[in-house]
Every structure is written in C-alpha cells, then in structure tokens.
Amino acid sequence: MLDPLEVSEGSPDRFAPWRIPTRFPAWITANAAGIQLAAGLLPLATVPLVLYSWATSERVLDSGGLESTQRVLASKPVVESSESGARWLGIAYWQAVNRVTRGGVRARWTDDGGRLTLLGGPTLFSFGTPELAFSDDVAACRYAIRGGLLTLRAGGSVTLAQRCVDDEVELSVIVEEYLPRLAARIGAPTWTGALYAKGQRPLHAAVSRRFFDLLASRVRM
C-alpha cells in the first residue's frame, strides 16, 4: 500500500509565465480567451484553437493504486473521432515524453506494445499494445502498464482521450491503478517518496501539458 498522496488541483495560473512553452501560442492566449469563452463573450466558431481550464489531480485508490488525471478544455476537437485519431493520441503522448525529457526518454514500439527507455538503455515503463476506442464524441487510446523500473508491479493503465460534451472538448491523460516504485510506502518517512513527489509527479504533469500543446499545435481540422 502506498501512502495517501496529496490531492492537488491546478489552473493555468498555477504555471508561472516562464514555464509557458512559447513555441506553442495556444497556451499564451489560453487564460484570456478561456475566460472569454467561459463567459460566453467569445463565439466558439471565431476562436482558433485555444486550450483553457487546465486541471491536475492525484489520489490513491482503495486498491492502493494511484490515479492521476490531467485535463484541459479545448475550443474545438484536436483529433478526428476515428481509429487514426485515437492512434494519434498515443503517438503524440510518446512524442511529448521525448520532448519534455529532451530525448532522454524515448518510446520504442515493439510487436507486443512499447517501452519507454532511458538513454536507449533501461526500460522505465513497458506497455501493452494500444487499445483504441472511438465513437462520434470520443477518441481514446489506452496502454496497459506491463512493468518497468518505475513500476512496483505490472498493472494499471494510461488513457489518452478526447471527449466532446455539448460545446466543450475535454482532453485528458488518466493514469489508473499505477503503483509507482518511487512513492513512499505506508509507515515509511515522507522523504522516502521525495523522488516521486519532486521528480516523477511534476514531470508527468509537464508531459501531459506538453501533450496537450502538441495536439493543439498540430491541428489541421
């Protein structure tokens, strides 16, 4: 069992301006346009793609596994609701990992899924084959976590999804039932989980954020 982790909620304001990846203008305008969109001051059709209402949260489930969620709203869909669109969510996520780690962590696709390797060597995570789902309103790509150095044991999944609900488009990264090796165990001093709390957790949030940026920056629809 893991120690209950602090639940954290965020908004775009949580990120200091120097952290904004300036190569993607979607985030630069996110706050202003997002507020106007939410207030109904800006007609949706007139807005180029804007991401707003970023939120991140994390909690320990009854099973002892971790659930980590990052969400953002988009002013229009970023992928097609099709097999290709769902697959692209998965590809873009691994690209985001690569970008955030400046090539240090790379995805390698294999016959039975994929692996995230550190500098081409040790496997940090191994995943099953992508499970793609799509309907009129949803495109999703789910990878089962099979193992790797950063997992205590196999289990859990990463789901990358786009959901269209009414006028809103929600993009999300949801990690479920994941057992991180670096987190503090119950009864252990808090500092034993410092590598997770100060390293892996913010890195994961940064990857999610870059993932949303990447999707937004390459919209051709």
């Binding site: 692209w88 690209q95 390459r218 051709r220």
Partner: protein
C-alpha cells in the same frame, strides 16, 4: 480537362499517368526528352524555369506537383524555388487546382530537413491564389520508391544488421497503386480544394517490423541489433556502401525516419473509398514488376 503533371518520370508520376489519361488530356513534364506515349503529351521542362512551366501549364485546369530534388546538396532551396515558380505560373494561367504529394509527419516541429522541405514546398504552393489539394503519405511501397528499395536491398544483402533507434519508429506505408488512385481521385474534385489529407496505408508498423516482413517475403532471416549510437551520417554512408541508394538520398530519408509518420485522420478514405492494399501484397507486387 487538360492536366499537367510535374515530376511525371518519378515513381508516383509514372503510376499516376495511366489513371489520368482515360479521363483527361495529360501533359507530362520531364527534364529530359521522353519517348512518345499513347494518351500523354511529353514536354521537356524544368519546374524551376518560368518559361518551361508557363508553356507546360497553358490551358491546364489541374496541375500535379510531384517534384522533389532529393539527392542534391541544396535540395531545400531547389524545392522552394520550383514550388514558388509553379505557384506563380498557375495563378497567372488561371489553373483551378494544384495537387501536391507531401510527407506525413512534415508538420512536426522537430521534422528532418527532408520533411521540413516537403512542408515548405506545400506552403509555397499554397501561398498563391490557386487552391492546393495536399495529400500526405509515408513510405510508398512500390518498385523504384527510394525508401522501399533501400529496405529491400538491406534485407537482400545483409545477413546481420546493426541498426539505429529509428527502426522502432512507427510508420504507415501505402501502396504505390493506392496513393496513385488517391491522387487521381482528387483531380478536379471540389470537396478537396484547399484541403490537406493524410493518405495512410491500412497497417501501422515499425521499420523493424517492415524489415522482418520483407525478409519473410524474400525468404531471409536477418539478425537485427538496435544500437542508440548510430548517427544519420554513419547510417547513410553505410547504406551508400551496401545498397544502390546514394548517401545524398539516404541521409535525408534516414533523418526523417526518427519522426513517426502516421495518419491522423481518415477523411480521404471516406471521400474516396476503396480497399487499400495490405503491405505484404503491395511488396509482392513491387517485387513482381
């Protein structure tokens, strides 16, 4: 309708011409003199020459732009100049549509010079008033396709391969016949004007899986070892040594292999529905030709 094809002697151009001649009056542009062919008017010309282009597109309703300068040291500059030239001439001549074949993955911020050049070419063509229909494809599986022939040569000639990381990058190759059908299908199609489409094949695979599947078809069993240290320069020199592909062509191709080349949408499949050729079938067809 009169249709002009630039890059008509290339792999895709040659496959496209027969599909166009049944419905259109086709002018094929080639840098060298070409033997007469039924249903096709061959004209000698260079896409970077304003006079050549103006003569070739006179009265044309649709212009296909299948030109690339891969293999030249300054291929990016050459492609840019030729695209600007054709775009300006098409606007002046009142052409109704330009059809361009670009590369999947070309809009990636970290795209290789080759893929970047493909994107820039599309942008230059679109800068004019003539609506451009862009099709984006990954590796084309067909006889004469540089990337495909490179992999076949590697499989045929090497019992063991030490490969860089790019072999585990996913791609979505498309059969030469299928991409030609798509190209022919968008000709004069109003729904495609000013639009960009991903032309992906029916299967997604890594380059390693592609090598292994070609090996099965060629009845070979190469031993593959992936290493993280091979640079594109080393890889291209190695390809130059063991395959018929020149290093100047191989290097930009290899640099592009680090980017996933996957279709992100399927609108073209909906617009022009037909059964796509499976990779193994397309490869067998290429070997037979």
């Amino acid at each position: 309708m009169k249709v002009t094809v630039f890059g008509a002697t290339g792999v895709v151009g040659r496959a496209l011409l027969p599909l166009l001649t049944s419905h259109h009056k086709v002018v094929a542009v080639s840098r060298s003199t070409h033997a007469p062919e039924k249903g096709v008017l061959w004209v000698e010309g260079d896409a970077s020459s304003a006079d050549d282009v103006a003569g070739a597109i006179e009265g044309a309703g649709v212009v296909y732009y299948l030109v690339h300068s891969l293999g030249r040291r300054d291929f990016e500059q050459q492609d840019r100049v030729a695209a600007e030239n054709v775009a300006a001439a098409c606007e002046y001549a009142g052409v109704k549509q330009i059809v361009y074949l670009g590369g999947l993955g070309d809009d990636d911020a970290s795209a290789s010079p080759h893929l970047r050049s493909r994107r820039e070419t599309g942008e230059r063509l679109s800068a004019g008033a003539v609506p451009v229909t862009t099709l984006r494809a990954a590796m084309i599986v067909g006889k004469g396709s540089a990337a495909f022939e490179t992999i076949v040569a590697l499989v045929d000639r090497l019992p063991a391969m030490i490969t860089p990381n790019w072999v585990s990058t996913p791609t979505q190759p498309i059969a030469l016949d299928d991409v030609s059908r798509y190209l022919a299908g968008v000709c004069g199609n109003r729904a495609t004007l000013g639009e960009s489409f991903d032309a992906g094949g029916p299967e997604v695979m890594t380059y390693r899986q592609m090598i292994e599947r070609i090996a099965v078809l060629r009845d070979r069993q190469p031993w593959i070892l992936e290493v993280p240290v091979l640079t594109p320069r080393l890889s291209s020199l190695w390809l130059h040594l063991v395959t018929p592909v020149r290093a100047s062509v191989a290097r930009p191709l290899i640099e592009g292999l680090k980017n996933p080349t996957i279709a992100r949408e399927e609108r073209l499949r909906t617009l022009l529905p037909f059964e796509l050729t499976l990779f193994d079938d397309a490869a067998r067809l290429a070997f037979a030709r």
